[in-house]
């Protein structure tokens, strides 16, 4: 049975099958045992009765000068009918000579000694059980051995044995049925902690890297320890990566700022047009690098903080207005008008303020960046927590918005604009962590409409 199981078979199936095999074996054993004990008991009980009858006859044997006197007690024969209606045969002998009874009833050769012995024999073509008692009796002045044989047919024993067999079989079947039921229940209860653990692990979100903490049976503790070890290694690895990016960005940004300052000074001091053009190119390249480093930092922050899930009380109204205002300078530089429409009342929300701000900043930043000078960007918030950012820029040009939210992916029409390809990734990840959704659609008449539906909880 165990050999029939494949490694991929369910534990529950294995457990039930093996428990059933055990139960079946025990049921068969029980049947055999009950039958053996019952048969022995039946034999013993009937033998006792037969023996008692034989002894009762033997007790009444009397010797004397005028031969053996036999007085068969009425009860000796009558009691043989007590256990059933079997036929009965008897014989009393002195030596080889029959005194009375069935002269052809076979006397066992080996029955010597004064005790009571039992034999199986055949008489009149019937199997019989025979009790034999020997008695020394003083007959005609001589001590002689008198043998009393009482035999009984086996119908009552067999009937009782059959009855016992039926009962034993019923008992074994009942035992097996009960065991089957219990094994199903046992399999279920044994597998419950495993199922619970699997369910708990399966229910986790994709970024949930907290250790699994629940009470499990000691057998599952190594598995859970290994799982938690794995999770913590993964988290460590992720956080090292983010730290590296952060450190790298940070370490790059500071020298870049210094480089820019130096270059600007050089630009102011230089009179040569060719040199000034080169220096302007350097400044643009430095800006590009600084921006990329900033966004890498932002992204790393988003990934790290969305795992932490801080709960700040945030007023969206104020946040949207604040972020839009902070971009006013950039917009003015490009001659772009930013229109902000927020409700008068606060729209409260409980989430990581820094993440929301970062996402909003990238969204508005993108809109300004890709708008043509003299264009218009509309930022709006509804009391239901829907943020829309509309521009009249170059649009998506048929690119699937979903691909734009991937890391370091940019549209096909952006070569002249500084960008790292992380902006929309940050927005989309914050939206996901917050529980809301982000949608980018092409606007009629050009431009993009970004709709961020926040989850107000």
């Amino acid at each position: 049975m165990i050999g029939l199981l494949r490694p991929s078979d369910s534990i529950r199936r294995r457990l039930v099958l093996q428990l059933l095999a055990v139960a079946a074996t025990l049921a068969v054993l029980m049947f055999v045992l009950v039958r053996t004990v019952a048969d022995a008991a039946v034999e013993k009980a009937h033998d006792n009765l037969l023996g008692a009858a034989t002894l009762a006859i033997a007790e009444e044997l009397r010797g004397g000068s005028d031969g053996l006197s036999v007085d068969i007690p009425y009860a000796a024969f009558a009691m043989l009918g007590a256990a059933g209606q079997d036929r009965m045969f008897y014989r009393i002998l002195i030596g080889e000579e029959t005194v009375t009874g069935y002269a052809d009833l076979p006397a066992p050769a080996a029955a010597r000694g004064l005790g009571l012995t039992f034999h199986n024999a055949d008489y009149l073509d019937l199997p019989v059980r025979m009790a034999v008692v020997n008695r020394s009796v003083q007959v005609d002045g001589r001590s002689q051995t008198v043998q009393v044989l009482v035999a009984q047919t086996l119908a009552a024993r067999e009937a009782l044995n059959d009855q016992m067999a039926y009962r034993a079989a019923g008992l074994a079947l009942g035992f097996f049925a009960l065991a089957a039921l219990l094994s199903v229940l046992t399999a279920r209860s044994v597998l419950q902690p495993l199922n619970n653990l699997a369910e708990a692990v399966g229910r986790r979100g994709p970024h949930d890297l907290r250790p699994v903490s629940r009470d499990v049976p000691s057998e599952l503790a190594p598995l859970m320890g290994a799982l938690n070890g794995f999770i913590s290694r993964l988290r460590g690895s992720l956080s090292r990566t983010e730290t590296l990016i952060t450190e790298a960005a940070h370490h790059v940004r500071t020298p870049l700022a210094s480089l820019r300052t130096q270059t600007e000074i050089a630009l102011r001091q230089s009179d040569d047009d060719a040199t000034r053009a080169t220096l302007r190119g350097v400044i643009r390249a430095v800006d590009d690098s600084a921006r990329s480093a900033g966004q890498l930092l932002d992204h790393a922050t988003v990934v790290y903080r969305s795992d932490q899930q801080a709960d700040d009380a945030v007023d969206l109204t104020e946040l949207v207005r604040g972020v839009a205002q902070s971009h006013q300078a950039l917009a003015d530089m490009r001659d772009i008008e930013v229109q902000v429409a927020v409700p008068d009342a606060p729209v409260p929300l409980s989430f990581d303020r820094l993440l929301l701000e970062s996402a909003l900043r990238n969204l508005i930043d993108n809109a300004i960046k890709y708008s043509d000078p003299g264009g218009e960007v509309e930022v709006a918030l509804t009391p239901e927590g829907v943020v829309t950012v509309l521009d009249r820029g170059r649009g998506l040009k048929g690119v699937d918005p979903a691909t734009l939210t991937g890391r370091f992916l940019r549209g096909q029409n952006v070569d002249d604009v500084i960008g790292s390809g992380l902006g929309l990734t940050i927005v989309s990840e914050v939206a996901k962590a917050q529980g809301g959704s982000l949608q980018l659609v092409e606007r009629e008449g050009g431009g993009v409409c970004a709709t961020w539906v926040l989850h107000l909880g």
Binding site: V70, D71, I72, A76, G81, R87, M88, F89
Partner: protein
């Protein structure tokens, strides 16, 4: 129901076809060419005739051969001679039990046999179809002034008090001659030691010993006997009549109830006919007919329950004890010593 006549066959006296002693053979003719049913019985033909007639009314093509013999001869016919009968009916319970135990009967099971009380059948081989109390009968006139005895002790006391009135006027079976007498005496001895006192007292009063109950009953009716001990009640009641001086007394200490039994012998040539007749005897119709027309009391457990002094002779292996020749010899010797005093 159509009328079926029966022809009284030739009465055949002993020794024509069998070595055992036959008293009477009666043939109840059925349709020509029909099956034959051979019954060997200790019961008189007159008693069984109505039963056979009713059986033939339901089975008109069966010809019934009804053979009557005494109980010893019935036993010998089956045990020693293997005579071919389809049903053996006898009042000698001990001999019937011996036949069944020694393998001379074939088992038979049917709704009728299953309906019998457990005490009225043995191992699906031996079946009782009538129960008869074994009673004391007395001549009321002879007891002039004396109370009628109700128990064996009463009888012993009366016999001791008035020995002269009882002398020579007590009748009982001679167990040496009568199988029924032997059965009753051995059952008495088994039941109580009173029987030996009774035998001693009776023995001192010159009892009359009989081989059959008929003469005993006649003796009591005529007044020759004051009492007769151990008489089959159904015969006695029928022959004494309601108004005569003879009364039937069921001893209150205990009264044996004799079971008339039937078995299907192994030698039967038409065991199915034997079984059919047996089932008829045990059926409600058969039992009603037995009670109404044969004078034999039917098997009736309620009657036994209502009369605690009635003790059916147990249909068990104990009956074999006194069939043993040594035991028979021993018992008869003791009985004779007690009753036949010099």
């Amino acid at each position: 129901m159509r009328h079926v006549g029966f022809a009284l066959g030739l009465m055949i006296w002993a020794g024509l076809a069998a070595a055992f002693e036959i008293e009477e053979v009666t043939v109840f003719e059925g349709a020509a060419g029909g099956p034959a049913l051979h019954v060997l019985s200790t019961t008189d033909t007159e008693a069984f005739a109505p039963l056979i007639a009713a059986f033939q009314a339901a089975n008109p093509d069966v010809t019934v051969h009804y053979t009557v013999a005494n109980s010893q001869e019935v036993y010998a016919a089956v045990y020693d001679e293997g005579a071919a009968f389809d049903l053996v009916v006898s009042s000698a319970m001990d001999l019937q039990m011996k036949l069944a135990n020694d393998g001379f009967a074939v088992p038979h099971r049917s709704g009728e046999t299953e309906a019998l009380p457990a005490w009225a059948r043995w191992a699906d081989q031996l079946f009782a179809f009538a129960q008869e109390p074994v009673v004391l009968i007395a001549n009321r006139d002879s007891f002039d002034g004396m109370p009628l005895p109700e128990t064996r002790d009463d009888l012993i006391r009366l016999m001791r008090e008035y020995p002269e009135r009882f002398r020579g006027r007590i009748g009982t079976y001679d167990p040496n001659l009568s199988g029924a007498g032997y059965l009753f005496a051995t059952q008495d001895a088994r039941q109580s030691d009173t029987i030996w006192r009774l035998a001693e007292v009776m023995g001192g009063l010159e009892p009359a010993l009989f081989g059959s109950s008929g003469a005993m009953i006649d003796g009591v009716r005529s007044g020759d006997l004051m009492v007769a001990y151990n008489v089959v009640g159904s015969y006695a009641a029928a022959r004494l009549g309601e108004d005569g001086p003879g009364v039937v007394i069921e001893a209150q200490d205990f009264t044996h109830v004799l079971l008339r039994t039937a078995l299907i012998p192994r030698t039967a040539e038409a065991p199915r006919q034997g079984a059919a007749f047996l089932d008829f005897l045990l059926s409600e119709d058969g039992q009603r007919l037995i009670e109404a027309d044969t004078g034999l009391p039917r098997i009736n457990e309620a009657a036994l329950a209502a009369s605690p002094h009635l003790r059916p002779i147990r249909l068990d292996l104990g009956l074999l004890v006194f069939v043993d020749p040594l035991m028979r010899q021993r018992f008869l010797a003791e009985w004779t010593a007690a009753v036949l005093q010099p």
